[in-house]
Amino acid sequence: MVFSSLIFLYLFLPVSFLLYFLSPNQTYRNWVLILLSLLFYAWGEPVWISILLISATVDYFHGLIVERYRGAWQSKAAVVSSLVINLGLLGFFKYAGFLAENISQLTGITIPHGEYQLPIGISFYTFQTISYVIDVYRGEVEAQKSYPKLLLFVSLFHQLVAGPIVRYKDIAREIEHRVHTLPLFSDGVSRFLTGLGKKVILANTAGGVATTLLDGRVESLPVLGAWLGIIMFAFQIYFDFAGYSDMAIGLGKMFGFTYKENFHYPYTATSATDFWRRWHMSLGSFFRDYVYIPLGGNRRFPLRNLLVVWFLTGLWHGASWNFVLWGLYYGLLIIIEKGLLLGLMKRLPAIVSHIYLVVAMLVGWVFFNFTDLTQAGRLLSAMFGLTGAPLVNAEILVYLTNNAAFLVLAAVASTPLLDSIYRRMEAWLVERGRQTRGLSRMRAIWNLMLFALSTTLLVGTSYNPFLYFRF
């Protein structure tokens, strides 16, 4: 199930609230959450729930063993076993086909491999359970003695399918004991609806235009058409992903969990280094803490470590070379920035660095968007005017004018502008000792508007006219 569906909003969520808040105590509530989460997961993929349960179960025991035999070889062995099992599952389901194809291309030997549909969320929950076992091993957190509680951590539907990658230590306390307050719940509502709006109002709209422009007709795009297409794709992927994270964080608050932030206005970044401090932060910090630093960080072989991390970051996004290329592209940019650019850019006005990042980021999305690299090459040539296509044509002009207001809206929503206006107004009122109730009311009405618009647009996507009379 996904958050941005009518069935989640108007069936699953109300039922969840009722069952959860009518449960008498924490133990019941935990069970309610586990069962709801399993139902949520099973909704699309009833079979793959077994993988989730395997991962949670083995790591429950791994955690216990690590703690019991602290300092002894068994402890290390349990970590290794956790890595082998989780990465094995991930490798088998996500990368087996990719690996087999590449080996057979290199050696000419055909390797039989199953074609599986990727179990939803496997990239997220395997990382979560790995981080749990390692954190126990490092003594950063105590092992969870209760199986249901660990299962709750792994399966929690808020972040199960699309992150953020939540670490056990960050919510360990809340698994044991959660506080529910009205202000927290209210914050959760605001956050959830902000995310819903990002996904349904912004990402879906941008996606429609991006698909129209970028699917199967890249050769004939004029220069501005190519840029419009990739800009729309950039908006689509950001608002989709950030919206999903917002919804997860918002749901967390409503149910008493605090998840870390996952995005911090990445499109306002001024360098690739800065971008990755703001984009999918839970993934970046995962690779930093569990790969980059253990490899030696910036003390031993920093270059190798960076390349390994960026290779893996790319590969994590999908079993295809274009993602690897996309990851390495950022690794390379970051290495160049470290050595050369950042010093230079400090002396230039911020707008220059910002323009550099936006162009670099859009070029990155070209690699990300096309699994077929020749297509990516074609779009890049079109963007930089190498195909001989005109700057613009009538069609693109119509698309530009038709979407002008949307482009401005999406650009504004990528910046902290609205948020900072709100905060300033709040601070201004507080400073003068005035009530902020009026402001909260405005916020509530704004949220209601987001909710209504999202619902309207979601119902609209079910509109599927039958075109039999088309000819």
């Binding site: 509530a444 599927n464 006219p465």
Partner: protein, 416 residues
């Protein structure tokens, strides 16, 4: 007790209210009139359906299709679309639509002409662009060399398999965007005169092409195309008919020889695909030119079983798809028998453009067969022989030559 913040109330009240209404209220009609499709039903709750995930997927669609106030939400959603930007002075908008083409899977059950069309997903998904300028929606045509060639090749193959003495005509109908007077949008779409000529050039010498383009182009100041539908009006079809008559060497019947009727309030396919409010404001009027000759019309929902019907089926006048008045819509096989005794027997292999055109032939042929390649279940060559057909007219609108799926339908009729 503490006061519950407005923010929470404004979230939970609509959430629970709409949630409860969805569960409580009856699920309404099973057919959507605007979309002309059957709404999703729940599949049986079987173990296979559950383990494959099919049940859940269908449940999602079922839930969305039966959502409370769905029609109103959809209408609001299409108005919201207008806020994305501007439409310029002449209100130009390009709308890419998705929908169900119904190439496959449309098999009307025996004797059930008014059954609901299939649910979405059973046909091929199609994506195409509609240019809305002011209150007119126009389908864009893009010349597609491969499917153009395949279309011509299929007709050539048809001609080769015919008995001697059977004459084959091909009439490709231009669409309204070919005659749109604003040159600014000319480059959005391919030239239709060229597209039609490209097909005609590929036809074998034994096949006679029919020029419908010129007679239509000569009268573009008249009401030849619907603004909210992708078809021509009966008047547009009439001028194509005069072109056909010129080719066959007959004299077209004068328009004054027909009784004219009008059915107002028609919002057609370009409207239902875009739900554009500017189209909605100005509905079309369907004009009917009823021939004074004698005739009877039979529909064969299945071979060998004629069902008497109306050439102008006025039950469609009350419905959404008013173009369905002509011949009662698309049927597998129709037969018009007139009082003429001239031995001329024609088969029209066609898409829905022919529906408005065929009534004009009543004054010239003894028998007219109407064949829809999407549904016609028999071998076309044997049919032509058995029914002693001596003229065949392929009548399509130019866009079918850009669809991958159309020529295969013609081929399939010959392969049977």
């Amino acid at each position: 007790m503490k006061r519950i913040p407005l923010n929470i109330l404004l979230f939970l009240i609509p959430l629970f209210l709409l949630g409860a209404l969805n569960l409580a209220l009856p699920k309404g009609e099973a057919v959507s009139a605007v979309e002309q499709r059957r709404l999703k039903e729940l599949p049986p709750l079987t173990l296979t359906n559950i383990t494959s995930g099919a049940y859940f997927k269908a449940f999602d669609e079922f839930f969305a299709d039966r959502f409370i106030f769905r029609d109103r939400f959809i209408r609001w959603g299409s108005s919201l679309d207008q806020l994305r930007g501007f439409t310029g002075q002449d209100g130009a908008e390009l709308i890419v639509t998705h929908g169900d083409d119904g190439f496959q899977g449309y098999q009307p059950a025996q004797g059930q002409p008014d059954q609901a069309p299939p649910a979405p997903g059973e046909g091929l998904d199609s994506r195409s662009a509609i240019l809305v300028v002011n209150d007119r929606g126009m389908e864009l045509y893009n010349y597609a060399p491969a499917s153009t060639e395949r279309y011509a090749a299929a007709i050539n193959r048809f001609q080769t398999g015919l008995p001697d003495g059977v004459k084959t005509y091909v009439l490709l109908a231009p669409t309204q965007i070919a005659f749109h007077n604003n040159p600014r949008y000319a480059e959005l779409t391919s030239d239709q005169a060229d597209g039609i000529q490209a097909v005609y050039d590929l036809l074998d010498p034994g096949i006679t092409p029919v020029d419908a383009y010129q007679p239509i182009a000569a009268h573009t100041d008249q009401y030849l195309y619907f603004r909210t539908d992708h078809h021509w009006t009966a008047l547009g079809a009439y001028y194509a008919y005069t072109g056909f008559m010129q080719t066959t060497g007959d004299r077209p019947v004068d328009l004054a020889e027909f009784t004219v009727e009008e059915v107002p309030g028609f919002l057609g396919t370009t409207y239902s695909r875009t739900l554009n409010p500017r189209l909605e404001k100005v509905p079309d009027t369907v004009q009917i030119y009823r021939p004074k000759a004698e005739y009877q019309y039979d529909i064969f929902w299945s071979p060998g079983q004629p069902a008497r019907s109306e050439l102008f089926n006025m039950t469609h006048a009350q419905a959404k798809g008013k173009y369905g008045i002509f011949l009662g819509g698309d049927v597998p096989l129709g037969r018009i028998t007139t009082g003429l005794q001239n031995g001329r027997r024609i088969a029209v292999i066609k898409d829905s453009y022919a529906n408005a055109f065929i009534p004009f032939l009543v004054n010239h042929y003894e028998v007219i067969y109407v064949i829809d390649p999407r549904q016609f279940p028999e071998s076309i060559h044997s049919f032509v022989k058995e029914q002693r057909i001596n003229e065949v007219l392929f009548l399509n609108y130019i866009l079918v030559t850009s669809f991958d799926g159309y020529a295969p339908l013609l081929e399939a009729m010959m392969d049977r």
